[in-house]
Symmetry: C2
Subunit: 104 residues, 2 copies
DNA sequence: GCTACTGTTCACCAAGTGGTTAACGATCCG
DNA sequence: CGGATCGTTAACCACTTGGTGAACAGTAGC
């Protein structure tokens, strides 16, 4: 199990899959066409996304319908937001720091 | 070289370092104390963050002053924002989809 | 029933990751 | 100078990751 949204997003192919699914549900073929890797590779990436809870899968006949599970991605997004709130302060701190450097 | 902010953030220790640095610059010891791993392990994590451009290092005597480089993290944050904008639509799409399912 | 299609699982492999201990380099301080 | 401190580098190891081809399972359609 991975259970870490950042780890799930740490591979460009998986981010690509998320990007496509962000536009709406899709089958495996639709969501992963054109990445230029074999089907087993895709299958593994999907498993990571599914284990992490980023993607949900519903089997429909011989195709699988994939959809995003936005709540899990929100954990990562919220972390980014919290850090970004601090970056705002950081700009000030670094500004201050650089000014101190100049005046010495 | 890593050159991928998501990959840089894909390890909890590196996120911890970023969290501490988001509150302001710090030395290696200050920024990485209490992670419970050896110094070489820390050194490697720092190298990843530095290679990616997330963290900047200035040598000051025998200590190293670390600070965040927010622009690079913004690349990741912006990606999250773009996806999140789509998730908004996604909620609607999924809603629609579920309703269709009910009515069949 | 047979064939085509969608997708997974299996077995394998090369490369990368994350950790260790030991040794080192450089700086500060008595 | 000599010792303590901050941090890196080197060499090594176990495990994970990301990929492959081959085979399989299930469904759809002729």
């Amino acid at each position: 199990m991975v259970n870490d949204p950042f780890k799930a997003l740490s591979h460009p192919i998986r981010r690509g899959i998320v990007e496509r699914l962000a536009e709406g549900p899709a089958t495996v073929g639709e969501a992963t066409g054109g990445f230029g890797v074999s089907k087993p590779a895709i299958s593994k990436h999907l498993k990571v996304l599914e284990d992490t809870g980023v993607v949900k899968r519903v089997v429909e006949g011989r195709t699988h319908r994939l959809s995003l599970e936005p709540e899990v991605l929100s954990v990562a997004a919220d972390w980014m937001d919290r850090q970004r709130a601090l970056w705002g302060r950081l700009f000030d701190v670094v500004d201050e720091y650089l000014k101190e450097g100049e005046s010495q």
